[in-house]
Amino acid sequence: MSEDTTLLSLRGLRKTFDTQEALNGLDLDVIRGEFLTLLGPSGCGKTTTLRIIAGLEMPTEGQVFLEGKDITLLPPEKREVNTVFQNYALFPHMNVAANIGYGLRMRKVPKADVLKRVDEMLRLVQLEGYGKRMPSQLSGGQRQRVAIARSAVLSPKLLLLDEPLGALDLQLRRQMQSELKKMQQQLGITFIYITHDQEEALNMSDRIALMRDGRFVQLDTPHNLYERPATAFAATFIGETNILDCTVVGISGEEVLLDMSGIAIPATTEDWVVPGQTLCLCIRAERLHYAKKSPEGFFLRGTFKGSHYAGSERTAEIELNTGHTLFSRQRTEQEETVLPGETVCLWWDRKTAGLVIDDREETT
């Protein structure tokens, strides 16, 4: 990655709280102008990473570079990085305009310019005429916009957003997702966005860094993260996935033969797969098909246990004779009636089933 496309670099970042290891050696390059999401379960170190980038927390080890300059020791007020806090942290004793203008006033921008830029910002976040209101008089969505305006008005090189939509209801959340994305493109500011909501991450991001236990599990585009998860954890964290624990029996060319509790399953091999290895075969629920009639080619047999109807889709629960339960999600428009207890055939397109290493039990 060349110097001018990389905006921010993290090198060997570690953070220990007392004896608790929060970050376990992070390396990351953020590309100028991108929307990068840190995704992961709570306690995975997302917020700690963000706070270190903002300067609100000191790393125990490692460095932070902004445009090639080491800013690890710089206090937050000296960094061209701004944060939108999870609870917005709007100053309750200042009105909306004073909140938005705060950063400019701290930078000693002339008063007339502050007023002008605050007005521009209010227009951008569609809150014209709200300047005189106090934060307590705003709705959640409006507060959220003020928080973004307050940071964005400083035209930071990098905007950090810590679950900014976490407190909003689902409908408003969806609406704000597209607004935020639009705003990011309009402003041309690089975003690092935190969420634990996989759908939000897939919707908005250029790239997603999936985190777990203070490490990156996978850093990839939403498409690749979904289609080609790197590990079983990545596969289960995003989307609904069937994980089949298998042992590699043999490899010939592109093909690998797997054994799952006595059932032989063919799959497409990967370059890291070796005979005798235990690994997981992941099949997304919506890509696992079932029918009473047997298909051409490879299939498994199972017993239909029941299903959950969800309007356009139905998720069926099918038990293999090995005792494994698999889930298959199908569109309801042309579904076949299957009764519980009936035997069905299960199959999938081999291209859509990936081999991954098993990291589900890992903990630090």
Binding site: L56, N82, F91, P92, S151, L154
Partner: protein, 286 residues
């Protein structure tokens, strides 16, 4: 107390014992003092009719006006000095680790387990011409002759601030404790230095505590008499000393009552002003 319409009546009933208690122990004694202030001096400790405003007329005397001015000035200085020393202490305690915080609070409150009068006697000993402070200064060669510390405005002020500043620390501590520190982080993030953040965010956000602390130190300071008595000697005639003198030396109960009513009225006005600027009376009692 805020109540909604439907529960209003019942809440009122529930508060009845409290109101009764307040009337018995506060209301009656207040009425007694006000009534007394309208009578004339009687034999010995007594009071007698007729009802008169004579006592209030006497207040116009220069002596009393001067004493009132001195008392208000000392109370204001005490409150401001409490702010100066109390705020940093409250800040320090609230930012300490939870275990340390508990110990610091105990240290702050521990002196209250001893009688205030005895603690002020302690200061008196410290201030003696041959007391610890002077001996230390002398042995360090900083002074040749002992400093006159006792019976000065300085010693009275020290005693007052010492006695009053915990009442400043407590409400400020509780508002610092309740403060959302991400506000300070947001301020730093937006480019403010720690000092700037303190004055633009922390102080305004803890203003209710500061106001409560000022009222809590100012009001009792106007009436405190034993500190000026012990550390100021006869040099300082504060309002509290006047009340004490009229009562215990001149045995003029009605006039002592009049002086007390003035103090009460003053306190009432200050609390009203405090409420006017947005303070909640609840914050004082926290």
């Amino acid at each position: 107390m805020k109540t909604d319409g439907s529960a209003g009546g019942r809440t009122y009933l529930a508060a009845l014992p409290m109101s009764l208690w307040a009337f018995l122990f506060v209301g009656i004694s207040l009425l007694y003092v006000i009534g007394l202030s309208l009578l004339s001096r009687g034999e010995g400790f007594g009071a007698q009719l007729p009802v008169t405003l004579d006592n209030y007329m006497r207040l116009g005397d220069r002596l009393y006006l001067r004493s009132l001015w001195l008392s208000l000035r000392l109370a204001a200085t005490t409150a401001l000095m409490s702010l100066l020393f109390g705020y940093p202490l409250a800040y320090f305690i609230s930012r300490a680790r939870p275990r340390a915080r508990t110990w610091l609070m105990i240290l702050l409150i521990a002196p209250f387990w001893t009688n205030a009068l005895i603690r002020i006697y302690g200061w008196k000993i410290l201030f003696y011409a041959n007391g610890p402070i002077n001996s230390v200064l002398r042995s360090l060669g900083l002074i040749e002759k002992p400093l006159k510390l006792l019976y000065t405005d300085f010693s009275v002020l020290v005693g007052m601030v010492y006695a009053m500043f915990p009442f400043f620390v407590l409400p400020v501590y509780s508002s610092l404790e309740r403060m959302d520190w991400t506000m300070a982080e947001a301020s730093r993030d937006l480019g403010a230095t720690p000092l700037k953040t303190f004055f633009t965010i922390t102080v305004p956000m803890t203003l209710p505590g500061i106001m409560a602390g000022l009222v809590l130190t100012f009001i009792p300071s106007i009436g405190l008499f034993f500190i000026s008595d012990l550390l100021g000697g006869a040099n300082t005639m504060l309002w509290g000393n006047l009340v004490q003198n009229e009562l215990l030396k001149s045995h003029d109960m009605p006039f002592a009552a009049t002086l007390s009513v003035v103090l009460l009225a003053l306190t009432g006005v200050i609390i009203l002003l405090y409420k006017r600027v947005g303070g909640k009376a609840d914050d004082i009692v926290f």
